[in-house]
């Protein structure tokens, strides 16, 4: 792997982290969806670049799936759900955006601290790639726990998946099994989420998970 290839891969992966951070920064639903589409696009770029430099054409499929499915289909679907269900257009963050961003940067720092200084034997690209992927995963998790809105949680979850794909494609020669399984799991995840959203729609006015939680019939909270 040449220097330039490495740099480009590095750049794209870094871009994915950046988009993750930006995702964290959004406080409007539609902006969030747009940035998520962007996230998917950057991911597909990263995957495509890996396909190129590793000379593994099957990775283009993954890239295409990421682009088409996560970059277009899902944002649109979520957009329709938001519109049709009359979900609040504003995200309800648990802690302030500033604080979330700060935490996000801290997480990236943690990811780098954990991976970069430690690794000697693994090949450098995989190492960098893992660090970025870990950042994306952690940021996705952070997003899931700092947003009350179910749609934004789903977005957070999908950005975790994106991080995973980034890591998986970065791993040299990782059998296709994994990519397919990731795509497969996303597919199933989405179907099931859709089913649930549908059912939840029947019974609740909002898909806000918090509202769902508060309607629990577990008598134990009320002693």
């Amino acid at each position: 792997m040449g220097k330039i290839e490495f740099d480009i891969a590095h750049l794209v992966a870094g871009g994915l982290v950046l988009v993750s951070l930006l995702l964290l920064y959004q406080d409007r639903m539609f902006a969030l969806l747009r940035f998520f589409a962007g996230h998917a696009v950057v991911l597909s770029l990263a995957v495509a670049w890996q396909a190129l430099i590793q000379d593994k054409p099957e990775l283009y499929i993954t890239a295409a799936i990421a682009l088409a499915f996560k970059g277009v289909v899902i944002p649109l679907a979520l957009y329709r759900i938001v519109v049709r269900l009359g979900i609040h257009r504003e995200l309800e963050p648990v802690v302030g955006v500033g604080l979330t961003m700060l935490a996000g940067i801290g997480l990236i720092g943690l990811a780098l601290v954990v991976i970069l200084p430690l690794t000697s034997a693994a090949d450098p690209y995989a190492r960098e790639d893992l660090a970025f992927a870990l950042s994306v995963v952690l940021l996705g998790l952070l997003m899931m726990i700092t947003r009350r809105n179910a749609v934004s949680q789903v977005v957070g979850f999908m950005s975790i998946e994106n991080g995973l794909i980034l890591a998986a494609t970065g791993a040299k020669g990782m059998p296709l099994v994994v990519e397919i399984s990731v795509a497969f799991s996303i597919l199933i995840a989405f179907i099931v989420i859709g089913i649930f959203l549908f059912r939840i729609r029947e019974r609740f006015d909002t898909v806000d998970v918090g509202a769902l939680d508060s309607a629990r019939a577990e008598g134990e909270r009320r002693r």
Partner: protein, 482 residues
């Protein structure tokens, strides 16, 4: 015979898969329930064949001492649960909690789940195992939500989200393991095979291996039900159909634990890593003590026993974290006994819930008066799960506690504390459920008592006498686990 033995894995996987397809197509719950039992029974027979000759490990499948324990247990509990389920599920149809369509779905999903779990256990490939566990999880998610009540959907949703996050973490860990392994082994499928990982584990980069183990422990630990990543477990057990609760507690947790153990084996081949033991010990103890306290304020009988599962998975994880021949043996024994006992308890609870029409502990009293057989069966089950002799869990707790205290007294203190606190809670509830003035319906239950007492008989027998071949086998596994 040997041909059969060598191809047993194919049968173990093929029978459930075929049965799932068949069941999805067939109407009429009486027939499908029987087919479900028959398929599970055949799977059990196939699993028994593994006791004979074993096929050599391939790229995708592997049969060794360790997973044969799990597969056999899986097939056995799967079979008895399907038996119980067949006699149980009709009542759900009568009360209108399930429709025939959903029942069809239920039976098909049951076999898919068995397929997923067996695959996860037999896989020689960390990716394949991950996929299989994911499959099993997704099917159980749907089973948990099958009653479509608020609570059931909520539990399923919780399970789904938390399970998905867990599985994502596990995947990340798996990828890291591959990244480390491909340096030593070379890219491709070989770098994902257990056999290779264990063989070359010493050459892996220890730092990355540590990182991977953190993700794997948390990720698969979610499935095992370790605190603080346990949250899906109580609700999923409480709201799903009782046979599923039995399978979840008895099997799925073990399957996830099997994954953790495999990775621990890889870790233990590497001298440079941060020992996985302390992490497992910590999580085990946290789960044990946390669940012990949580047992006290439970009002739902199934949720209570779900917490008891967390407690026991904590003990088992602790045991494997301690390592060494004695603790590993105790861990294996405890796991086996817990599976049998806990599923027996859930069978009993299923009867109780059907008779009384409620799962609320406050509305179930004096069971030994109105239903002596069921009541005493439940007493026996709870006594067993509480670790009293002469039942099997006593033996494993005996070995674990005594050996831990001799090795590291400070670790034994929280262990004993947790066991005692949990014991107090279980007994408190048992007192009111089994004894005192009866409350609620005194109707008879249609469901079969055979699976429950079969399990309890095994647990009782194991508490008094372990056959030498079994012991030898467990000892081998304990040695492998290091």
């Amino acid at each position: 015979m040997s041909w059969f033995s060598l191809h047993a894995p194919a049968f173990i996987l093929g029978i459930p898969a075929a049965a799932a397809a068949l069941l999805a197509l067939m109407p009429g719950y009486r027939v499908t329930a029987r087919i479900n039992v028959a398929a599970s029974g055949l799977t059990l027979l196939a699993a028994l064949a593994l006791l004979g000759e074993r096929p050599a490990p391939g790229h995708f499948l592997l049969v060794d001492d360790l997973n044969v324990v799990f597969v056999l247990l899986n097939a056995f509990v799967g079979f008895t649960t399907s038996w119980f389920s067949a006699s149980y599920i009709g009542h759900e149809l009568e009360t209108g909690r399930l429709t025939p369509l959903y029942l069809r779905f239920y039976h098909a999903m049951y076999q898919v789940m068995m397929f997923g779990m067996n695959l996860a256990l037999l896989a020689n490939n960390i990716g394949l195992m991950w996929v299989a566990i994911e499959l099993a999880t997704l099917t159980t998610v749907m089973m948990v939500g099958i009653y479509r009540t608020h609570e059931a959907l909520e539990a399923a949703w919780k399970y789904f989200i938390l399970g998905s996050v867990g599985i994502a973490l596990a995947l990340f860990g798996t990828i890291i393991v591959y990244v480390v392994a491909q340096v030593a082994i070379g890219p491709g499928l070989d770098a994902m095979a257990w056999t290779n990982l264990v063989q070359y584990g010493g050459r892996f980069d220890p730092a990355l291996l540590n990182l991977a183990f953190v993700f794997l422990l948390l990720g698969y630990g979610t499935k095992v039900g370790l605190a603080p990543v346990h949250a899906w477990l109580p609700d999923a057990h409480a709201e799903g159909p009782t046979p599923i609760s039995a399978v979840l507690s008895g099997l799925l947790l073990n399957v996830a634990l099997h994954a953790v153990l495999r990775f621990k084996m890889v870790m233990s081949t590497n001298a440079g890593v941060l020992a996985p033991g302390p992490m497992m010990i910590t999580m085990g103890l946290v789960s044990l003590i946390f669940a012990a306290f949580m047992l006290y304020r439970r009002r739902d009988i199934k949720r209570m026993f779900a917490y008891s599962s967390i407690e026991h998975m904590g003990i088992i994880t602790f045991a494997f974290g301690m390592g060494g021949p004695l603790a590993n043996f105790a861990g294996l024994l405890h796991m086996t006994m817990h599976s049998l006992t806990k599923s027996a308890i859930f069978f009993a609870v299923g009867h109780v819930a059907q008779i009384k029409g409620t799962q609320r502990i406050a509305e179930i009293k004096g069971l030994t008066v109105t239903h002596p057989v069921l009541g005493w069966g439940l007493v026996l089950g709870v006594v067993a799960i509480a670790g009293l002799p002469p039942l099997g869990i006593f033996m494993s707790e005996f070995l674990l506690v005594s050996s831990t205290f001799a090795r590291d007294p400070l670790l034994a203190i929280p262990l004993v504390f947790g066991i005692l606190v949990a014991f107090g809670a279980l007994l408190l509830r048992l007192n009111s459920i089994a004894f005192g003035e009866p409350v609620g319906s005194t109707a008879r239950s249609d469901a079969s008592y055979v699976p429950m007492f079969a399990h309890l008989a095994l647990v009782l027998a194991a508490g008094l006498y372990l056959p030498a071949p079994l012991v030898e086998w467990f000892e081998n596994v304990a040695k492998v686990l290091g």
